[in-house]
């Protein structure tokens, strides 16, 4: 992610505004936010891209690993926003987990989702993540809201990877350019 992605991110977040913090709502404000983000340690913010013809890629969403703790080898993942109707959730999630466990060599991830965002909560369940049994609250636009916390530990990663990879590879076969990128 670079400052040049500011307009895309601002537009994407506006289109998916219901369940995410408003944050920087204009491209200029988003560009300023990105400038500060680039100075922040332990924060990896990615653009989800769809391979296009001739090597061009189309931005389709965002995802991030942040609050990476080098001592506990854990991080949060989130800022996961896709264009409405995008089929990229499985592939983007798989690549994010690979970055966390294989590239950054983390031992655990946590994500928190507004409880009312039921289909995203269900998505994490379907991926094989484990819910934290205690109630969790997160701030949504400054207001505390009930949320669901999921965890994925390194011990659970191989099963989750197998599940996601099987679906991602079958999806990639129908997307020119993607199959090569997804192949192990």
């Amino acid at each position: 992610m670079t400052p040049d992605d500011a307009a895309f991110i601002a537009g994407l977040r506006a289109r998916a505004a219901r369940f995410i913090n408003l944050g920087a709502v204009t491209a200029a404000a988003q560009r300023e936010w990105i400038a500060h983000y680039l100075d922040r340690a332990g924060d990896y913010y990615f653009i989800v891209e769809r391979p296009g013809s001739g090597g061009a890629a189309q931005p389709e969403g965002t995802v991030a690993l942040y609050q990476v703790d080098a001592t506990t080898r854990t991080a949060e993942w989130g800022r996961f926003v896709l264009e409405p109707g995008s089929p990229a959730a499985i592939e983007a999630t798989l690549l994010t987990y690979r970055c966390a466990f294989d590239t950054l060599a983390l031992d655990g991830l946590v994500c928190r989702t507004l409880a009312e965002n039921a289909q995203v909560v269900a998505f994490h369940d379907s991926c094989g993540l484990v819910r934290t049994p205690l109630p969790v609250t997160i701030l949504h636009n400054g207001e505390p809201r009930p949320s669901i916390e999921h965890r994925l530990l390194r011990s659970g990663w191989p099963d989750v990877e197998r599940r996601l990879e099987g679906l991602a590879l079958r999806l990639a076969k129908r997307t020119p350019g993607a199959a090569r990128a997804m192949s192990p």
Partner: protein, 80 residues
């Protein structure tokens, strides 16, 4: 040969993939069924492809939002 796919076949398949105890109404939107998340949606499409030997384009995925729409799309594939 024309293969007629009944709505209740699709209802059963969707219910099975989503782990629902009751069949979803044919016109109930995906957005109204919390268990119908992005991963389960892909599993539903793949289950349909395997059962009926068809392939949906990726561009079609997002539009498969109800059992009725799925059944209509499937019939169109089978008739092609």
């Amino acid at each position: 040969m024309t293969c007629i796919v009944a709505d209740d076949e699709i209802q059963s398949l969707v219910a099975q993939v989503l782990g629902l105890s009751e069949l979803p109404a044919v016109d109930l939107s995906r957005s109204e069924i919390p268990q119908w998340d992005s991963l389960k949606h892909v599993e539903i499409v793949f289950a349909l492809e395997d059962r009926y030997n068809v392939q949906f384009d990726e561009a079609e995925f997002a539009g498969l939002t109800t059992v009725a729409v799925i059944a209509a799309s499937l019939r169109a594939h089978l008739a092609a």
